[in-house]
Symmetry: C2
Subunit: 359 residues, 2 copies
């Protein structure tokens, strides 16, 4: 059985394409209670982009600070409950921001039409009904959240996505103008998320010619942005990284992520480390699993003068490490991808704890 | 204004994925008059694939011979009228075959819900209503018809697609097992359609970083299949060409095709030459427009011992050439892509006739 994966319904790519947002949602405004919910990264509060959000008087514009922690099931439930109580069902949701804002917009869209807490739906195909119309405008490139079938949420028990075909955006607007002012470290760590997606996607049982082609081109673009002559933050590379993010996200959608993401999820769940940074903290120690990828990753770190802390695990308790390993072990699809169906013969809680102790 | 393009809703890729067709359409069988229409290339009549078509007693399986000529508006109208009269509106349409069968399935799906002749809808966004559910299973790789927003039809007055977001398939099944027995020349000419899509997409005003990335990877795959060591018809290359076809199709969807397609359409319209072959007949003479592409194309011809006739235009009347030029001139979006908005200052009916006389 091969995966039957859902694409983004519609995509527009190009500089200033954000200006098309107003006309794109115009025809959707008649649905439900005839207003739109805009969920915007708090970073843009007071900045020029705030004025460009095409909100009408009836709309809700909600700024969310995602610096402190990744989206939680509690956050999603609260937004949904408050909005349904005050204004009823919106016509649609627009998310403007990085991967966390994309995930919030996708999750809120689904939870508007699915009853109870979002913790009930963490997993594959647990969502019962399609969500409302949702549109994503990424302002940072790399997570692939703009095209993935999952909205990753941290719940009381697990960090796991609402994953189904209805999670995927109805529309994405890819405007490279919006990513031009991303701070350097965030640019690097988020871009490396795509790089790691491709390295992990390629190596494992779920990889096929389709996912490989997407990873191959996304890696080529990543190398232009981070590795080759001409690397660095500039207009051309902003465009390339935006396309790489999408292609890397499509590659992992068809294939799967691997060991780095499993360990990274454990770290994020217990210590609330941000996803892309967490991936980088982990990936530097996985040279025995992804030798060429880790070698190149370290060269890119050096090229951009980015340093990553080590010996972090010295400050963690045995209980914390055991908890992290539990979270990672449960991500069975990732272990299955890297090791194959008999992964349980090769991976134990102890061997996973040993990986965390590398950090 | 950047193009807002529609993706295929859902895609499955992999060997034997054709076996998933039955379960994929099961949930759609309840719509309308609760039966499916399968449109299958006549090539498969009596072959093993015929037995594998998951038709129920209530379904219609229609074999169509597309060897003689490309899909016409009359063919589409006739299928639609006969089926509506005999069994009413189907739940969905499944097309199994090459680019022509893909185009027929897409066009029939649209014409089931849009009144009058399909000639009324040849052009961009002329279709008034979404079609019925339609699913494509390509059995030859290269045309990109499996992912494009257009269903190309030859009408009494023009060769032009029904082009809108509803043209795009709801589902595509990409099973490389199905392309293993394509005759060598068809394999080559159809594959070259993708190659030419990419060369044309890259060169012109509609090209951007997104369309370029898709063309770049599709060209890389084409070179593996037709040019590099290991080139030729084999299982690995069948998979690569299937992905190349999709990526090349996406590249031209975001960008545009160019001069080769404009001339090729003129030739097909007047002399009923098959599209992919027609492209090859034309492309060999366009070295001044696409120098590197034509050079490589000729090397691929030589590598696979394919010869193309020349001096064809010697056998054509002046009237025929004038008619061909008229057809080509009307494909304004292609000239606009290659030359830019002021293309009318650079292209005349005479200069187009001169291109036809190269053939």
């Amino acid at each position: 059985m091969h995966k039957n994966f859902k694409n983004i319904d519609k995509v527009v790519f190009g500089r200033s394409s954000f200006n098309q947002l107003d006309s794109i949602i115009a025809e959707k405004r008649h649905d439900h209670n005839k207003y739109f919910l805009f969920i915007v990264d708090n970073y843009f509060k007071g900045k020029e982009l705030e004025k460009r959000v095409p909100a009408k008087p009836e709309d809700i514009v909600m700024f969310i600070n995602v610096d402190a922690e990744e989206p939680t099931t509690k956050l999603i439930d609260t937004i949904r409950d408050n909005i349904l109580k005050s204004k009823g069902l919106p016509a649609g949701v627009v998310g403007i921001g990085g991967g966390s804002i994309m995930d919030i917009a996708k999750a809120v869209s689904l939870m508007f039409t699915n009853e109870g807490s979002s913790t009930l739906y963490q997993g594959l195909n647990l969502i019962k009904k399609p969500g409302i119309y949702h549109l994503g405008v990424p302002t940072v490139s790399g997570t692939g959240a703009e095209c993935s079938m999952t909205a990753v949420l941290t719940g009381s028990e697990k960090k796991l996505g609402l994953k189904c075909e209805w999670t995927v955006f109805n529309q994405v607007i890819l405007d490279p103008d919006l990513t031009g002012t991303v701070p350097k470290e965030q640019w690097f760590f988020t871009g490396m998320d795509t790089y790691i997606h491709c390295i992990e996607s390629e190596k494992g049982s779920c990889n096929n010619t389709y996912s490989y082609a997407y990873a191959e081109e996304a890696l080529k673009l990543c190398r232009d942005v981070f590795y080759n002559d001409g690397a660095g933050q500039n207009a051309v590379n902003d465009e390339k990284l935006m396309v790489a993010s999408l292609m890397g996200g499509l590659s992992l959608t068809v294939s799967e992520v691997g060991i780095c993401h499993a360990i990274s999820y454990g770290l994020s769940k217990i210590l609330h480390t941000r996803h892309c940074y967490s991936n980088c903290l982990v990936f530097q120690h996985l040279a025995d699993f992804y030798p060429q990828g880790v070698k190149e990753f370290k060269e890119m770190l050096a090229k951009h003068n980015i340093s990553l802390p080590e010996n972090l695990s010295k400050g963690w308790t045995n209980e914390q490490i055991a908890e992290m390993a539990q979270v990672a072990y449960k991500l069975t699809h990732m272990w299955n991808h890297y090791y194959g169906a008999d992964w349980r013969n090769k991976v134990t809680l102890d061997s996973i704890e040993a990986l965390f102790r590398r950090l």
